[in-house]
């Protein structure tokens, strides 16, 4: 068996008495797209913060490409090849869209030392995400849909091999969701990305992912293909309240 690109091992996080994440384990193979499902407060964003180094776990650890990354700062995790988006978008508002990507291209795994080369790399990604027309606009002036795309563009521009997408479709219209799915498929194909996706838009998740992890109150209650998850009695009981 080959080493998975990402191995989450018995990961736990407590905030005082509150258990945000409890003994969660799963693997993501290179090139795979895995979805994370769960209600609000199930621990999805905490999981991302632990993987990306924004928070440190209380127990367990994370391996990336066969080496432990637990305890590393976010910038080091990024340079190793993990990019993340934020559910609540965090653009650099006064910088242009292109300058937003320049940061990622210069400081991420891509590591361009020279601004001109970083900008060439960045413009190609802006093209793929349909942001080429607004490249010179201050990022703060984009629409929500545009800022969500900018989040993805920046994460990809770091040269990441694994991209963590945190609800990039939340708040978008159905047409925008369809466009976003198309964009993600293309990115995955052209750049050989591995994706870990948190999403509330269920159809999108079922559509995009090969496997899905279901979290409930910080625990992993199911893992499997979309079809398996759709038929899992525990998932159904949690989601539809059967037997409650």
């Amino acid at each position: 068996m080959t080493t998975p690109l990402l191995a989450v091992r018995c990961l736990g996080k407590r905030f005082g008495g509150l258990v945000a994440l409890d003994d969660v384990s799963f693997d993501v193979a290179a090139g795979e797209t895995v979805g994370i499902m769960g209600a609000n407060g199930a621990g999805k964003t905490t999981l991302f913060s632990l993987i990306a180094g924004n928070q440190q776990p209380s127990s367990g650890g994370v391996d990336f490409d066969g080496r432990p990354i637990t305890g590393l700062s976010p910038d080091r995790v990024c340079r190793l090849g993990i990019g993340r988006t934020f559910q609540i978008v965090k653009p650099f508002p006064a910088l242009s869209v292109l300058e937003n990507l320049r940061t990622a291209a210069m400081f991420g795994r891509a590591g361009f030392r020279d601004a001109a080369a970083a900008d060439r790399h960045s413009r190609a990604i802006l093209d793929e995400l349909g942001l080429a027309d607004v490249a010179e606009r201050p990022a703060g002036t984009l629409t929500l849909s545009g800022q969500k795309r900018l989040e993805i563009a920046r994460a990809v521009a770091t040269g990441a091999r694994l991209v963590l997408l945190d609800e990039v479709m939340a708040g978008l219209t159905p047409t925008e969701v369809a466009r976003m799915l198309e964009t993600l498929r293309q990115l995955r194909a052209t750049r050989g990305l591995t994706l870990l996706v948190i999403e509330h838009v269920m159809r999108a998740l079922m559509d995009l992912c090969e496997r899905i992890v279901v979290l409930h109150h910080g625990e992993r209650i199911a893992i499997g293909t979309p079809a398996e998850i759709g038929a899992d009695p525990r998932v159904l009981s949690v989601y539809l309240g059967a037997g409650a």
């Binding site: 924004n54 910038d75 990019g83 965090k90 653009p91 650099f92 940061t103 990622a104 920046r154």
Partner: protein
Amino acid sequence: MPETLASAGASRIWGGTLAALALALGALPFVANDYAVATGLGLLMWLALTQSWCVLSKMTGYVSLGHVVFYGLGAYLVVVTWQQWPLWLAVLAAGALAAVFAALVGLPVLRVRGPYFVILTFGVAELVRYSILAAEAASGTASRILFGAPDLVFIYFAMYALAAAATLLLAQVAGSRFGHGLRSLRENEEAAETLGVPVVRYKLIAFVLSAAIPGMVGAVMALRSTYFVVGQVFDPMISVTMIAMALLGGGDGTRGPILGTLFLFTISELLWANAPLAYMLILGAILAGFVLLAPDGIVGIAAKLRARRSAPTKAPE
């Protein structure tokens, strides 16, 4: 706002203005009387301080209200080592002392943001001021007199070199990869860190870089006053003036501090000489006006005017 948006024509005009200013200030001691040279020295001092302050505060958004501490430490070092160390060594050591002090307090202090950072830097500066006051009082030296300090023209050119060095430093930082990382963390620190910017290290480096020249400026100015009082070289008004000049200038490049320093320094000199009573009132009104109406300073006003002028010609494209 980043200055990459400035047009080529405007930067040519700016380059010419800057060269003329550098030449005029360089020639001043050869053509003017002592009063004018002393005034020029004041201008150069504020230029060096404001440019240095911007390396930290404009680039990272961490507004230091305690930069006078570096100035004061530099001045104090020169006074304490007076006639024991060669002057050039004392001045360089003043820069090193300021840098080391910044590195030591930087790690804890740079962990807090926004108003907390502002108050903390102010507190650190006051703490150092009162510590040194207490040490001086305990040793029985309320003030010191420096005999045999170098003449005004020597001091003037030393300050000229420091002002030029501070301007070059800020230009270098603003145009570099390092500077882009600082701007990113100013805009959103968590996002910058997640995109690979080593924010903790970068903030500390910026803090150290912005401290060294003020240390040397303080050292050189100690030679000028010849009569040393602790309260004077640690005066919080020095910190406030740096901020006011940088805010009036605007932008995060070198032209904001230059324009802001020239503007505020000229107004201060005129008002001080002609209307000493109204001085503080008018100064306060100007500052309040800028903060309310033109938060990005003179550079921001210029950028807006340029945008307005070029808007109609761009429309048909």
